[in-house]
Symmetry: D2
Subunit: 135 residues, 4 copies
Amino acid sequence: MESPFAHSVNYVGHSGIVLDEIGVDRVVGHIVVDEYHSQPYGLIHGGVHCTLAETLASTGAACWAIEQGMAGAVGLTNKTDFIKGVTEGVIVGEATPIHCGRSQQIWQVFIRRESDERLLAQSQVRLQNITSTEF
Amino acid sequence: MESPFAHSVNYVGHSGIVLDEIGVDRVVGHIVVDEYHSQPYGLIHGGVHCTLAETLASTGAACWAIEQGMAGAVGLTNKTDFIKGVTEGVIVGEATPIHCGRSQQIWQVFIRRESDERLLAQSQVRLQNITSTEF
Amino acid sequence: MESPFAHSVNYVGHSGIVLDEIGVDRVVGHIVVDEYHSQPYGLIHGGVHCTLAETLASTGAACWAIEQGMAGAVGLTNKTDFIKGVTEGVIVGEATPIHCGRSQQIWQVFIRRESDERLLAQSQVRLQNITSTEF
Amino acid sequence: MESPFAHSVNYVGHSGIVLDEIGVDRVVGHIVVDEYHSQPYGLIHGGVHCTLAETLASTGAACWAIEQGMAGAVGLTNKTDFIKGVTEGVIVGEATPIHCGRSQQIWQVFIRRESDERLLAQSQVRLQNITSTEF
Protein backbone atom coordinates (compact mmCIF):
# COMPACT_ATOMS: atom_id res chain seq x y z
CA MET A 1 0.00 0.00 0.00
CA GLU A 2 1.26 3.41 -0.91
CA SER A 3 1.86 5.67 2.03
CA PRO A 4 -0.41 8.71 2.00
CA PHE A 5 2.41 10.56 3.71
CA ALA A 6 4.60 10.20 0.65
CA HIS A 7 2.41 12.59 -1.30
CA SER A 8 1.35 14.91 1.46
CA VAL A 9 4.13 17.14 0.18
CA ASN A 10 4.76 16.98 -3.55
CA TYR A 11 7.74 17.78 -5.75
CA VAL A 12 7.16 21.54 -5.73
CA GLY A 13 6.67 21.45 -1.99
CA HIS A 14 9.87 19.50 -1.48
CA SER A 15 11.67 22.05 -3.64
CA GLY A 16 10.72 24.50 -0.93
CA ILE A 17 8.90 26.89 -3.25
CA VAL A 18 6.59 29.35 -1.52
CA LEU A 19 4.33 31.44 -3.75
CA ASP A 20 4.08 35.02 -2.49
CA GLU A 21 2.12 36.77 -5.22
CA ILE A 22 0.03 35.43 -8.10
CA GLY A 23 -1.35 37.45 -10.97
CA VAL A 24 -1.53 37.81 -14.74
CA ASP A 25 1.19 40.50 -14.71
CA ARG A 26 3.55 39.14 -12.09
CA VAL A 27 4.14 36.02 -10.06
CA VAL A 28 6.59 36.00 -7.17
CA GLY A 29 7.89 33.12 -5.09
CA HIS A 30 10.82 32.34 -2.86
CA ILE A 31 12.87 29.45 -1.50
CA VAL A 32 14.87 29.32 1.70
CA VAL A 33 17.99 27.65 0.33
CA ASP A 34 20.30 25.53 2.42
CA GLU A 35 22.46 22.42 1.98
CA TYR A 36 19.34 20.44 1.11
CA HIS A 37 19.36 22.18 -2.29
CA SER A 38 23.06 21.67 -2.97
CA GLN A 39 24.86 19.73 -5.63
CA PRO A 40 28.14 18.10 -4.58
CA TYR A 41 30.13 21.38 -4.62
CA GLY A 42 27.84 22.86 -2.01
CA LEU A 43 26.18 25.25 -4.49
CA ILE A 44 22.48 25.35 -5.19
CA HIS A 45 21.52 22.71 -7.76
CA GLY A 46 20.68 24.28 -11.14
CA GLY A 47 17.48 22.27 -11.22
CA VAL A 48 16.17 24.30 -8.30
CA HIS A 49 16.40 27.49 -10.36
CA CYS A 50 14.75 25.76 -13.34
CA THR A 51 11.97 24.42 -11.16
CA LEU A 52 11.31 27.76 -9.47
CA ALA A 53 11.23 29.50 -12.87
CA GLU A 54 8.96 26.86 -14.39
CA THR A 55 6.57 27.07 -11.46
CA LEU A 56 6.31 30.85 -11.47
CA ALA A 57 6.03 31.20 -15.25
CA SER A 58 3.46 28.41 -15.56
CA THR A 59 1.38 29.88 -12.78
CA GLY A 60 1.30 33.29 -14.41
CA ALA A 61 0.64 31.91 -17.88
CA ALA A 62 -2.20 29.74 -16.61
CA CYS A 63 -3.78 32.72 -14.85
CA TRP A 64 -3.60 34.80 -18.03
CA ALA A 65 -4.98 32.00 -20.21
CA ILE A 66 -7.85 31.35 -17.82
CA GLU A 67 -8.65 35.07 -17.73
CA GLN A 68 -8.93 34.90 -21.53
CA GLY A 69 -11.39 32.02 -21.29
CA MET A 70 -8.89 29.27 -22.08
CA ALA A 71 -8.13 26.28 -19.88
CA GLY A 72 -4.50 27.08 -19.09
CA ALA A 73 -1.02 26.77 -20.52
CA VAL A 74 1.66 24.07 -20.67
CA GLY A 75 5.42 24.55 -21.03
CA LEU A 76 7.20 24.15 -24.35
CA THR A 77 10.73 25.28 -23.49
CA ASN A 78 12.52 26.36 -20.34
CA LYS A 79 15.86 28.09 -20.86
CA THR A 80 17.60 28.98 -17.63
CA ASP A 81 20.94 30.78 -17.34
CA PHE A 82 22.93 30.30 -14.16
CA ILE A 83 24.83 33.43 -13.21
CA LYS A 84 25.99 33.23 -9.59
CA GLY A 85 26.10 30.19 -7.34
CA VAL A 86 24.92 30.43 -3.76
CA THR A 87 25.09 28.08 -0.82
CA GLU A 88 22.32 29.35 1.41
CA GLY A 89 19.89 32.18 2.00
CA VAL A 90 16.57 33.30 0.56
CA ILE A 91 16.22 33.41 -3.20
CA VAL A 92 13.32 35.28 -4.76
CA GLY A 93 11.96 34.65 -8.24
CA GLU A 94 9.85 37.17 -10.14
CA ALA A 95 8.06 36.15 -13.34
CA THR A 96 6.66 38.70 -15.77
CA PRO A 97 5.19 38.21 -19.24
CA ILE A 98 7.17 39.07 -22.38
CA HIS A 99 4.45 37.96 -24.75
CA CYS A 100 0.87 36.80 -24.18
CA GLY A 101 -0.62 35.71 -27.49
CA ARG A 102 -3.58 33.78 -28.77
CA SER A 103 -1.69 30.49 -28.93
CA GLN A 104 1.54 30.96 -27.00
CA GLN A 105 3.10 32.92 -24.17
CA ILE A 106 6.68 33.75 -23.15
CA TRP A 107 7.46 34.60 -19.54
CA GLN A 108 10.73 35.81 -18.09
CA VAL A 109 11.94 35.01 -14.60
CA PHE A 110 14.65 36.76 -12.62
CA ILE A 111 15.91 34.96 -9.53
CA ARG A 112 17.74 37.15 -7.04
CA ARG A 113 19.30 36.76 -3.62
CA GLU A 114 16.99 38.53 -1.22
CA SER A 115 19.72 40.03 0.95
CA ASP A 116 21.41 42.12 -1.76
CA GLU A 117 19.19 41.62 -4.84
CA ARG A 118 22.08 40.09 -6.72
CA LEU A 119 20.96 38.28 -9.89
CA LEU A 120 21.58 34.54 -9.50
CA ALA A 121 19.73 33.08 -12.49
CA GLN A 122 17.35 34.15 -15.17
CA SER A 123 14.99 32.10 -17.20
CA GLN A 124 12.64 32.27 -20.12
CA VAL A 125 9.74 29.88 -20.42
CA ARG A 126 7.72 29.51 -23.62
CA LEU A 127 4.24 28.01 -23.14
CA GLN A 128 1.36 26.82 -25.26
CA ASN A 129 -2.15 27.89 -24.35
CA ILE A 130 -4.57 24.98 -24.00
CA THR A 131 -8.33 24.86 -24.38
CA SER A 132 -8.80 21.71 -22.36
CA THR A 133 -7.05 20.01 -19.49
CA GLU A 134 -8.05 16.56 -20.71
CA PHE A 135 -4.77 15.00 -21.80
CA MET B 1 18.23 22.56 16.32
CA GLU B 2 18.09 21.49 12.74
CA SER B 3 16.66 18.06 12.28
CA PRO B 4 19.18 15.66 10.76
CA PHE B 5 16.24 13.92 9.12
CA ALA B 6 15.47 16.97 7.02
CA HIS B 7 18.65 16.50 5.04
CA SER B 8 18.92 12.77 5.06
CA VAL B 9 17.39 12.95 1.61
CA ASN B 10 18.28 16.04 -0.39
CA TYR B 11 16.68 17.82 -3.34
CA VAL B 12 17.95 15.38 -5.94
CA GLY B 13 16.85 12.51 -3.77
CA HIS B 14 13.39 13.97 -3.33
CA SER B 15 13.19 14.39 -7.10
CA GLY B 16 13.44 10.61 -7.20
CA ILE B 17 16.50 10.54 -9.46
CA VAL B 18 18.37 7.24 -9.51
CA LEU B 19 21.71 7.18 -11.32
CA ASP B 20 22.14 3.98 -13.29
CA GLU B 21 25.34 4.57 -15.22
CA ILE B 22 28.10 7.15 -14.83
CA GLY B 23 30.91 7.82 -17.26
CA VAL B 24 32.66 10.40 -19.40
CA ASP B 25 30.78 9.28 -22.52
CA ARG B 26 27.35 8.61 -21.10
CA VAL B 27 25.35 9.10 -17.93
CA VAL B 28 21.99 7.41 -17.44
CA GLY B 29 19.42 7.88 -14.72
CA HIS B 30 15.74 7.27 -14.15
CA ILE B 31 12.77 8.44 -12.11
CA VAL B 32 9.65 6.50 -11.19
CA VAL B 33 7.08 9.20 -11.89
CA ASP B 34 3.73 9.40 -10.14
CA GLU B 35 1.36 12.11 -8.88
CA TYR B 36 4.10 13.33 -6.55
CA HIS B 37 5.80 14.85 -9.62
CA SER B 38 2.69 16.44 -11.07
CA GLN B 39 1.75 20.01 -11.66
CA PRO B 40 -1.94 20.89 -11.22
CA TYR B 41 -3.01 19.31 -14.55
CA GLY B 42 -1.72 15.93 -13.41
CA LEU B 43 1.24 16.00 -15.81
CA ILE B 44 4.85 15.72 -14.75
CA HIS B 45 6.20 19.12 -13.67
CA GLY B 46 8.63 20.54 -16.25
CA GLY B 47 11.11 21.21 -13.48
CA VAL B 48 11.52 17.46 -12.98
CA HIS B 49 12.78 17.10 -16.56
CA CYS B 50 15.12 20.09 -16.10
CA THR B 51 16.45 18.70 -12.84
CA LEU B 52 17.02 15.23 -14.26
CA ALA B 53 18.83 16.71 -17.28
CA GLU B 54 20.93 19.04 -15.13
CA THR B 55 21.92 16.20 -12.82
CA LEU B 56 22.93 13.83 -15.61
CA ALA B 57 24.78 16.42 -17.68
CA SER B 58 26.62 17.84 -14.69
CA THR B 59 27.66 14.41 -13.54
CA GLY B 60 29.08 13.52 -16.93
CA ALA B 61 30.79 16.87 -17.39
CA ALA B 62 32.36 16.67 -13.94
CA CYS B 63 33.67 13.17 -14.67
CA TRP B 64 35.22 14.32 -17.94
CA ALA B 65 36.77 17.43 -16.37
CA ILE B 66 38.22 15.44 -13.50
CA GLU B 67 39.66 12.92 -15.94
CA GLN B 68 41.42 15.86 -17.64
CA GLY B 69 42.92 16.96 -14.34
CA MET B 70 40.46 19.75 -13.66
CA ALA B 71 38.28 20.08 -10.59
CA GLY B 72 34.89 19.72 -12.24
CA ALA B 73 32.29 21.71 -14.15
CA VAL B 74 29.41 24.03 -13.26
CA GLY B 75 26.31 24.76 -15.31
CA LEU B 76 25.98 27.91 -17.43
CA THR B 77 22.71 27.28 -19.28
CA ASN B 78 20.05 24.58 -19.23
CA LYS B 79 17.65 24.60 -22.15
CA THR B 80 14.96 21.94 -21.89
CA ASP B 81 12.25 21.29 -24.46
CA PHE B 82 9.08 19.56 -23.27
CA ILE B 83 7.63 17.30 -25.94
CA LYS B 84 5.12 14.92 -24.41
CA GLY B 85 3.49 15.10 -21.01
CA VAL B 86 3.13 11.99 -18.89
CA THR B 87 1.31 11.26 -15.67
CA GLU B 88 3.15 8.21 -14.39
CA GLY B 89 5.64 5.52 -15.24
CA VAL B 90 9.41 5.23 -15.47
CA ILE B 91 11.26 7.96 -17.34
CA VAL B 92 14.87 7.40 -18.38
CA GLY B 93 17.36 10.15 -19.12
CA GLU B 94 20.52 9.61 -21.14
CA ALA B 95 23.20 12.31 -21.29
CA THR B 96 25.96 12.30 -23.91
CA PRO B 97 28.57 14.94 -24.71
CA ILE B 98 28.24 17.20 -27.76
CA HIS B 99 31.40 19.14 -27.02
CA CYS B 100 34.12 18.69 -24.41
CA GLY B 101 36.58 21.57 -24.65
CA ARG B 102 39.33 23.13 -22.62
CA SER B 103 37.05 25.67 -20.97
CA GLN B 104 33.49 24.56 -21.66
CA GLN B 105 31.34 21.52 -22.35
CA ILE B 106 27.91 20.96 -23.90
CA TRP B 107 25.92 17.86 -23.03
CA GLN B 108 22.67 16.68 -24.53
CA VAL B 109 20.03 14.75 -22.64
CA PHE B 110 17.16 12.72 -24.05
CA ILE B 111 14.42 11.76 -21.62
CA ARG B 112 12.23 8.88 -22.75
CA ARG B 113 9.38 6.84 -21.34
CA GLU B 114 10.83 3.46 -20.53
CA SER B 115 7.84 1.43 -21.68
CA ASP B 116 7.84 2.55 -25.33
CA GLU B 117 10.97 4.73 -25.62
CA ARG B 118 8.83 7.70 -26.57
CA LEU B 119 10.73 10.99 -26.36
CA LEU B 120 9.26 13.14 -23.57
CA ALA B 121 11.82 15.93 -23.24
CA GLN B 122 15.24 16.85 -24.46
CA SER B 123 17.76 19.15 -22.98
CA GLN B 124 21.07 20.79 -23.66
CA VAL B 125 23.29 21.90 -20.82
CA ARG B 126 26.32 24.14 -21.34
CA LEU B 127 28.91 23.99 -18.57
CA GLN B 128 32.09 25.76 -17.55
CA ASN B 129 35.07 23.69 -16.48
CA ILE B 130 36.50 24.73 -13.14
CA THR B 131 39.98 24.31 -11.70
CA SER B 132 38.94 24.64 -8.09
CA THR B 133 35.88 23.86 -6.04
CA GLU B 134 36.57 26.71 -3.63
CA PHE B 135 33.77 29.18 -4.29
CA MET C 1 11.42 52.34 -58.93
CA GLU C 2 12.82 49.37 -57.11
CA SER C 3 15.88 47.92 -58.74
CA PRO C 4 15.32 44.33 -59.87
CA PHE C 5 19.01 43.75 -59.21
CA ALA C 6 18.52 44.38 -55.53
CA HIS C 7 16.52 41.20 -55.16
CA SER C 8 18.21 39.04 -57.72
CA VAL C 9 20.07 37.53 -54.79
CA ASN C 10 18.20 37.45 -51.49
CA TYR C 11 19.29 37.30 -47.85
CA VAL C 12 19.96 33.58 -47.85
CA GLY C 13 21.86 33.93 -51.10
CA HIS C 14 23.97 36.75 -49.71
CA SER C 15 24.71 34.61 -46.67
CA GLY C 16 26.39 32.27 -49.13
CA ILE C 17 24.32 29.22 -48.17
CA VAL C 18 24.39 26.39 -50.69
CA LEU C 19 21.96 23.51 -50.11
CA ASP C 20 23.59 20.18 -50.87
CA GLU C 21 20.99 17.67 -49.75
CA ILE C 22 17.31 18.03 -48.90
CA GLY C 23 15.11 15.41 -47.28
CA VAL C 24 12.80 14.62 -44.39
CA ASP C 25 15.58 12.85 -42.48
CA ARG C 26 18.53 15.10 -43.25
CA VAL C 27 19.30 18.46 -44.80
CA VAL C 28 22.88 19.47 -45.58
CA GLY C 29 24.25 22.82 -46.72
CA HIS C 30 27.55 24.65 -46.76
CA ILE C 31 29.06 28.13 -46.87
CA VAL C 32 32.46 29.17 -48.16
CA VAL C 33 33.42 31.53 -45.35
CA ASP C 34 35.80 34.44 -45.80
CA GLU C 35 36.19 37.99 -44.45
CA TYR C 36 32.78 38.86 -45.88
CA HIS C 37 31.24 36.85 -43.02
CA SER C 38 33.40 38.35 -40.28
CA GLN C 39 32.54 40.45 -37.30
CA PRO C 40 35.12 43.06 -36.28
CA TYR C 41 37.51 40.50 -34.70
CA GLY C 42 37.86 38.69 -38.00
CA LEU C 43 35.82 35.70 -36.82
CA ILE C 44 32.68 34.45 -38.52
CA HIS C 45 29.63 36.42 -37.35
CA GLY C 46 27.42 34.35 -35.06
CA GLY C 47 24.42 35.32 -37.14
CA VAL C 48 25.83 33.31 -40.03
CA HIS C 49 25.68 30.13 -37.96
CA CYS C 50 22.14 30.98 -36.79
CA THR C 51 21.02 31.67 -40.34
CA LEU C 52 22.54 28.48 -41.72
CA ALA C 53 20.91 26.45 -38.94
CA GLU C 54 17.54 28.15 -39.38
CA THR C 55 17.64 27.56 -43.14
CA LEU C 56 18.54 23.87 -42.89
CA ALA C 57 16.12 23.08 -40.06
CA SER C 58 13.24 24.95 -41.68
CA THR C 59 13.82 23.23 -44.99
CA GLY C 60 13.76 19.79 -43.41
CA ALA C 61 10.76 20.56 -41.22
CA ALA C 62 8.82 21.93 -44.18
CA CYS C 63 9.60 18.82 -46.21
CA TRP C 64 8.39 16.56 -43.40
CA ALA C 65 5.23 18.60 -42.82
CA ILE C 66 4.38 18.61 -46.52
CA GLU C 67 4.94 14.86 -46.69
CA GLN C 68 2.34 14.56 -43.89
CA GLY C 69 -0.15 16.60 -45.88
CA MET C 70 0.40 19.87 -44.03
CA ALA C 71 1.45 23.15 -45.59
CA GLY C 72 4.83 23.52 -43.92
CA ALA C 73 6.43 24.70 -40.69
CA VAL C 74 7.53 28.02 -39.21
CA GLY C 75 10.22 28.62 -36.60
CA LEU C 76 9.37 29.17 -32.93
CA THR C 77 12.82 29.22 -31.32
CA ASN C 78 16.39 29.04 -32.60
CA LYS C 79 19.02 28.30 -29.97
CA THR C 80 22.54 28.29 -31.35
CA ASP C 81 25.70 27.58 -29.35
CA PHE C 82 28.97 28.93 -30.68
CA ILE C 83 31.86 26.61 -29.95
CA LYS C 84 34.86 27.52 -32.09
CA GLY C 85 35.44 30.66 -34.12
CA VAL C 86 36.85 30.46 -37.63
CA THR C 87 38.07 33.06 -40.07
CA GLU C 88 37.76 31.26 -43.37
CA GLY C 89 37.15 27.92 -45.04
CA VAL C 90 34.17 25.75 -45.83
CA ILE C 91 31.64 25.16 -43.06
CA VAL C 92 29.10 22.38 -43.44
CA GLY C 93 25.78 22.22 -41.60
CA GLU C 94 23.79 19.03 -41.13
CA ALA C 95 20.23 19.15 -39.83
CA THR C 96 18.44 16.07 -38.49
CA PRO C 97 15.11 15.75 -36.71
CA ILE C 98 14.90 15.18 -32.96
CA HIS C 99 11.12 15.21 -32.87
CA CYS C 100 8.50 15.33 -35.63
CA GLY C 101 5.06 15.59 -34.06
CA ARG C 102 1.53 16.45 -35.07
CA SER C 103 1.88 20.10 -34.12
CA GLN C 104 5.57 20.78 -33.62
CA GLN C 105 9.03 19.67 -34.67
CA ILE C 106 12.53 20.02 -33.20
CA TRP C 107 15.56 19.80 -35.48
CA GLN C 108 19.19 19.76 -34.48
CA VAL C 109 21.98 21.22 -36.58
CA PHE C 110 25.69 20.55 -36.29
CA ILE C 111 27.98 22.95 -38.14
CA ARG C 112 31.49 21.65 -38.73
CA ARG C 113 34.62 22.82 -40.51
CA GLU C 114 34.89 20.71 -43.62
CA SER C 115 38.66 20.31 -43.50
CA ASP C 116 38.86 18.53 -40.14
CA GLU C 117 35.20 18.03 -39.13
CA ARG C 118 35.74 20.15 -36.05
CA LEU C 119 32.46 21.22 -34.43
CA LEU C 120 32.06 25.00 -34.73
CA ALA C 121 28.46 25.54 -33.68
CA GLN C 122 25.36 23.59 -32.89
CA SER C 123 21.79 24.62 -32.99
CA GLN C 124 18.34 23.47 -32.09
CA VAL C 125 15.32 24.86 -33.88
CA ARG C 126 11.77 24.30 -32.65
CA LEU C 127 9.07 24.76 -35.29
CA GLN C 128 5.29 24.86 -35.52
CA ASN C 129 3.59 22.91 -38.27
CA ILE C 130 1.17 25.01 -40.31
CA THR C 131 -1.86 23.98 -42.33
CA SER C 132 -1.90 27.07 -44.52
CA THR C 133 0.66 29.48 -45.89
CA GLU C 134 -1.83 32.33 -45.89
CA PHE C 135 -0.57 34.68 -43.20
CA MET D 1 41.53 37.67 -58.59
CA GLU D 2 39.00 38.39 -55.92
CA SER D 3 36.80 41.36 -56.65
CA PRO D 4 37.28 44.16 -54.13
CA PHE D 5 33.61 44.98 -54.71
CA ALA D 6 32.58 41.67 -53.23
CA HIS D 7 33.58 42.81 -49.77
CA SER D 8 32.72 46.44 -50.01
CA VAL D 9 29.51 45.46 -48.25
CA ASN D 10 29.83 42.59 -45.79
CA TYR D 11 27.36 40.13 -44.28
CA VAL D 12 25.98 42.54 -41.71
CA GLY D 13 25.67 45.19 -44.38
CA HIS D 14 23.83 42.83 -46.70
CA SER D 15 21.48 41.99 -43.82
CA GLY D 16 20.50 45.63 -43.98
CA ILE D 17 21.36 46.36 -40.35
CA VAL D 18 21.74 50.04 -39.50
CA LEU D 19 23.07 50.88 -36.04
CA ASP D 20 21.26 53.86 -34.55
CA GLU D 21 22.61 54.03 -31.03
CA ILE D 22 25.63 52.41 -29.38
CA GLY D 23 26.40 52.34 -25.69
CA VAL D 24 27.15 50.17 -22.69
CA ASP D 25 23.53 50.38 -21.49
CA ARG D 26 21.66 50.16 -24.77
CA VAL D 27 22.27 49.43 -28.42
CA VAL D 28 19.61 50.11 -31.04
CA GLY D 29 19.52 49.18 -34.70
CA HIS D 30 16.96 48.76 -37.45
CA ILE D 31 16.38 47.01 -40.76
CA VAL D 32 14.09 48.04 -43.58
CA VAL D 33 12.56 44.64 -44.32
CA ASP D 34 11.22 43.68 -47.73
CA GLU D 35 11.04 40.55 -49.87
CA TYR D 36 14.84 40.40 -49.91
CA HIS D 37 14.65 39.15 -46.30
CA SER D 38 11.92 36.58 -46.91
CA GLN D 39 11.91 32.84 -46.63
CA PRO D 40 9.72 30.98 -49.16
CA TYR D 41 6.42 31.83 -47.38
CA GLY D 42 7.09 35.54 -47.82
CA LEU D 43 7.83 36.07 -44.11
CA ILE D 44 11.05 37.51 -42.76
CA HIS D 45 13.71 34.78 -42.44
CA GLY D 46 14.32 33.87 -38.80
CA GLY D 47 18.04 34.24 -39.40
CA VAL D 48 17.55 37.97 -39.90
CA HIS D 49 16.20 38.33 -36.37
CA CYS D 50 19.06 36.20 -35.00
CA THR D 51 21.63 38.24 -36.88
CA LEU D 52 20.17 41.56 -35.77
CA ALA D 53 20.09 40.37 -32.15
CA GLU D 54 23.63 38.98 -32.31
CA THR D 55 24.93 42.21 -33.81
CA LEU D 56 23.29 44.48 -31.25
CA ALA D 57 24.14 42.33 -28.23
CA SER D 58 27.75 41.82 -29.32
CA THR D 59 28.21 45.51 -29.93
CA GLY D 60 26.93 46.42 -26.49
CA ALA D 61 28.88 43.68 -24.75
CA ALA D 62 32.09 44.67 -26.51
CA CYS D 63 31.59 48.30 -25.49
CA TRP D 64 31.07 47.32 -21.88
CA ALA D 65 34.06 44.96 -21.84
CA ILE D 66 36.32 47.59 -23.41
CA GLU D 67 35.16 50.17 -20.87
CA GLN D 68 36.26 47.70 -18.16
CA GLY D 69 39.70 47.43 -19.73
CA MET D 70 39.12 44.11 -21.47
CA ALA D 71 39.48 43.49 -25.18
CA GLY D 72 35.86 42.68 -25.98
CA ALA D 73 33.36 39.83 -25.87
CA VAL D 74 32.47 36.87 -28.08
CA GLY D 75 29.14 35.07 -28.30
CA LEU D 76 28.52 31.77 -26.50
CA THR D 77 24.80 31.23 -27.12
CA ASN D 78 22.10 33.05 -29.06
CA LYS D 79 18.54 32.03 -28.23
CA THR D 80 15.95 33.80 -30.35
CA ASP D 81 12.18 33.36 -30.06
CA PHE D 82 10.08 34.20 -33.10
CA ILE D 83 6.73 35.66 -32.13
CA LYS D 84 5.11 37.35 -35.10
CA GLY D 85 6.04 37.06 -38.78
CA VAL D 86 6.17 40.14 -40.96
CA THR D 87 6.59 40.63 -44.67
CA GLU D 88 7.84 44.19 -44.86
CA GLY D 89 8.39 47.39 -42.95
CA VAL D 90 10.93 48.73 -40.50
CA ILE D 91 11.95 46.49 -37.61
CA VAL D 92 13.79 47.96 -34.65
CA GLY D 93 15.97 45.98 -32.26
CA GLU D 94 16.90 47.20 -28.80
CA ALA D 95 19.57 45.41 -26.78
CA THR D 96 20.01 45.94 -23.05
CA PRO D 97 22.22 44.11 -20.55
CA ILE D 98 20.76 41.57 -18.13
CA HIS D 99 24.10 40.72 -16.56
CA CYS D 100 27.59 42.19 -17.01
CA GLY D 101 30.05 40.14 -15.03
CA ARG D 102 33.79 39.66 -14.77
CA SER D 103 33.84 36.77 -17.20
CA GLN D 104 30.48 36.70 -18.95
CA GLN D 105 27.60 38.90 -20.04
CA ILE D 106 23.96 38.27 -20.97
CA TRP D 107 22.14 40.75 -23.19
CA GLN D 108 18.48 40.76 -24.11
CA VAL D 109 17.13 42.02 -27.41
CA PHE D 110 13.56 42.97 -28.24
CA ILE D 111 12.75 43.35 -31.93
CA ARG D 112 9.60 45.33 -32.67
CA ARG D 113 7.77 46.59 -35.72
CA GLU D 114 8.35 50.32 -35.83
CA SER D 115 4.86 51.25 -36.97
CA ASP D 116 2.97 49.83 -33.99
CA GLU D 117 5.72 48.63 -31.63
CA ARG D 118 4.42 45.07 -31.88
CA LEU D 119 6.92 42.52 -30.54
CA LEU D 120 8.17 40.33 -33.40
CA ALA D 121 11.06 38.46 -31.82
CA GLN D 122 13.10 38.45 -28.69
CA SER D 123 16.52 37.15 -28.08
CA GLN D 124 19.02 36.48 -25.37
CA VAL D 125 22.72 36.36 -26.12
CA ARG D 126 25.28 35.05 -23.63
CA LEU D 127 28.84 36.22 -24.24
CA GLN D 128 32.32 35.56 -22.90
CA ASN D 129 34.57 38.50 -22.14
CA ILE D 130 37.98 38.27 -23.78
CA THR D 131 41.28 39.81 -22.82
CA SER D 132 42.82 39.59 -26.26
CA THR D 133 41.59 39.64 -29.83
CA GLU D 134 44.41 37.37 -30.99
CA PHE D 135 42.63 34.15 -31.92
